[in-house]
Symmetry: C2
Subunit: 340 residues, 2 copies
DNA sequence: TTGTATGCGTTATCAT
DNA sequence: ATGATAACGCATACAA
C-alpha cells in the first residue's frame, strides 16, 4: 500500500484534513505545521492518489479529443497532428490530461457518448466531421463543455468552434496571383463537399468577382476525392480554348500532380503557368519549382481550441465563441510571374 | 445529481451490492432480479460513474502514450501516427482509454513520473528516445508495466519492446538492387546516431559483405540531420571515381533530393542509377519515377505494443518480450534495372 | 489555525 | 441468490 494522507497526518501529528489543506492550499495554515507536513511528504515519498482525488472532486481533470474513425489517415495528416501537439501542450499546462478516442461505435452507444455519460472527461474537442446533430444535441442537453475543430455544418452560431480562414486564404492567394501578372486562375480541389472546401471556393470566387471575371465555374475542378485525377484534369484545362495561366490547388499532392502534368506537356512553371497550393507540407519547398503556399497555422488552431475549452470547463457560463485564424502566404518560385 | 447504483437499488427493491453484481457479472443473480435491474437502469438512464469505479478498483483503465517532447515533429511524423492510431484501436477494444502526454518537465518531476506516481495510468508506452536509464530504473523499481516503441539503447534484454526489422529491411533492399543489376550501392542517411539507423547500416553492410564488397564505408553518407544536404551529397557521390549506380535512402525527403540531384546532372533513374528508400510515404508512388520503398508496417508496430502492454497489465508476471516486425519491399520503377 | 465527521459511488467481504 | 456493511483516499462543512 502506498502512503496516504493519513500516514502523513499520523507522522506529523495533525489531522488528515490539515494535510489535505496544505496540498491544495485551500486554507491558511501556520507556516510551522505547513513545513512539517511538506517535509514529511518528501520523506515518506507521498504522492496524491489522483483516483481518490478525482472521485472526491467529481472531476477527471482530463479532456477528450475525438478522432474521426472513418478516416484511417487522420493520424497521418500532418496538419491535424500539429493541432494535436498544440492541444496536448495547452492541456498539460493547465493541469489536465489529454485522452484520445475514436468515435467508432462499440455497440449502440458511441465511445464519445460513453466519455460523457461515464464522466471520463471534463470536456471534449471534436472534429467537425464528428459533430453530428445527434451528438451536438446530446452535449448541449447535458450542458457538457465541448468545442469543434473546424467550422461545423450545423449550429454554427450556437456552438464554439475554431477554424482557419479558408475563404480569405484562397482570396489572398488569387489576389497574389493577379498581382504577379496571372490573369486566368483555375482552382483544383480534392472535392467540394466539406465546409472548408466550400469556404475556399467562396474566397476564390470573391477574388474573381472583384477582378470582374465571370466564367468562374469553368475554372473550378473537382478531383472527386482522387488526387491522382489532378494530373489529367490539368492537361485538359490546358487544352481548353481559354486555358488558365495559374492553378490554385487544395493540397500539396494535387499541386505535385499539376507540376508533373505541366512538365509533361512542356508548359513552364512559373513562366507560363503559376502554381500555388494550400498547406505548407514539408515537401513543398523542395518541389521543382518550390511551391508558393497558403500556410495554415494548425498549431494555433489546436491551441485556441484547447484554451477555449478549458475556459468553458472552468466557467460553466462562458459564452460560445467562434475563432477564425488567419492564413499566411508563403511566396516561393512557383508564382514568380510570367515571362511574356 | 446523476442517478446512482443506490437509486436503482431502491427503485427495484434490492441492495446496491446486487446492482453492482449485475453490472459486473461478478456473481450469479436470478434471471428475474437481473431483468428488473436492467430495466430500471435503462428507464432511469443510469450510467456507471467511472470515477467512483476506478477509485474502488484502484485502477484507471487508462494507458499512457509518451510523446518525445524534444521533437515538435513527432506528431507530424506519418509513421509514428499510424502507430498511434493502432494503439488507440487496441486500447479501446480492451476497454481502456488512451492518454497522451509529453515527457517535458513541469518542474523537477517529469510528467511521465507523475503519471506513474499519481496513478493516472495503468501502464505506459514510451518511445525509445524517452527511455532514459533513470526512467527505466524508476519503472522497474515500481514494477510498473511499460513497453518501449523502438529498440532501446539500454537494457535491451531486460525490457519489453517492439521494433521494425531495420537491419533486414536494408539487407533485402540491397539484395533487391543487386538482383536488378546494380553493383555499387550507396546509402544516404539522415544521421547515424539512432539505434534504428545503426541497425539499417548493419543490414546494409551485411548484404555488401555477402556480395564480397569491401569499400563499404565510402558509400555510407550522413546528412548530419539536414536532409537538404542529400542534394550535394548525391552530386559528390556521382562525381567520385568509383561512383555508385544505386542509392538507398533513409527516408523519402532524402530520396526526393537524390532524384532532383540526379536529374540536374543528367543521370537517369532507374537506367543509370537506381534509387530506393525507407518508408512508404504518400508521395513516393507519385514521384518521378515512382519510388521503390522498404515499407514499414507501423500500424502493426503500435498494435503489438498495445497488445503486449495490456497483457502485462493484466498479468503482473507476464514476461518481457521483444517483437521485431518484418519489413516489406514495394517495388516500383525507380529500381527497374539498368539499361546498359 | 486546526480537528471531527461525513460523504463521494462503487466494490468486496462476510453473512444469511 | 442476496443483503448489510466496511473500505478505498481525499475534500469539505461544521465545530472548536
Amino acid at each position: 500500500m502506498a502512503v496516504t494522507i493519513k500516514d502523513i497526518a499520523k507522522q506529523v501529528g495533525v489531522a488528515p484534513s490539515t494535510v489535505s489543506r496544505v496540498i491544495n492550499g485551500s486554507a491558511v495554515i501556520s507556516q510551522e505545521t505547513k513545513d512539517k507536513i511538506m517535509k514529511a511528504m518528501v520523506e515518506m515519498d507521498y504522492h496524491p492518489n489522483s483516483l481518490a482525488r478525482n472521485f472526491a472532486n467529481g472531476s477527471t481533470y482530463a479532456i477528450g479529443l475525438v478522432i474521426d474513425a472513418s478516416d484511417d489517415n487522420t493520424f497521418s495528416n500532418a496538419f491535424f497532428n500539429r493541432s494535436v501537439y498544440a492541444i496536448e501542450t495547452v492541456v498539460q499546462e493547465n493541469g489536465y490530461n489529454l485522452l484520445i478516442t475514436n468515435d467508432r461505435d462499440d455497440d449502440k452507444r458511441s465511445s464519445v457518448e460513453k466519455l460523457v455519460f461515464e464522466k471520463k472527461v471534463d470536456g471534449i474537442i471534436l472534429p467537425s466531421s464528428s459533430a453530428t446533430p445527434k451528438l451536438i444535441r446530446l452535449l448541449k442537453k447535458n450542458n457538457f463543455p465541448f468545442i469543434i475543430l473546424g467550422e461545423p455544418e450545423i449550429e454554427k452560431n450556437e456552438t464554439s468552434w475554431v477554424d482557419v480562414n479558408n475563404a480569405l486564404g484562397s482570396e489572398t492567394a488569387v489576389k497574389h496571383l493577379y498581382q504577379n501578372g496571372y490573369q486566368k486562375i483555375a482552382f483544383i480541389l480534392e472535392n467540394r463537399t466539406t465546409v472548408f472546401a466550400k469556404n475556399r471556393v467562396e474566397g476564390y470566387e470573391k477574388a474573381l468577382e472583384e477582378k470582374g471575371c465571370g466564367e468562374k465555374e469553368d475554372y473550378i475542378k473537382d478531383c472527386g476525392g482522387k488526387v491522382e485525377n489532378a494530373f489529367e484534369i490539368t492537361k485538359e484545362l490546358l487544352r481548353q480554348a481559354n486555358a488558365p495561366d495559374a492553378i490554385l490547388c487544395s493540397n500539396n499532392v494535387i499541386a505535385y500532380q499539376v507540376l508533373c502534368a505541366l512538365k509533361e506537356i512542356n508548359v513552364s512553371t512559373p513562366n507560363d503557368v503559376g502554381v500555388m497550393t494550400f498547406d505548407n507540407y514539408p515537401f513543398s519547398e523542395y518541389m521543382d519549382p518550390p511551391l508558393s503556399v497558403v500556410d495554415v497555422d494548425t498549431f494555433r488552431l489546436g491551441e485556441q481550441a484547447a484554451t477555449n475549452l478549458i475556459k468553458k470547463i472552468q466557467n460553466a457560463d462562458y459564452e460560445n465563441q467562434q475563432t477564425i485564424i488567419a492564413t499566411k502566404l508563403i511566396i516561393r518560385e512557383s508564382t514568380k510571374g510570367k515571362t511574356k
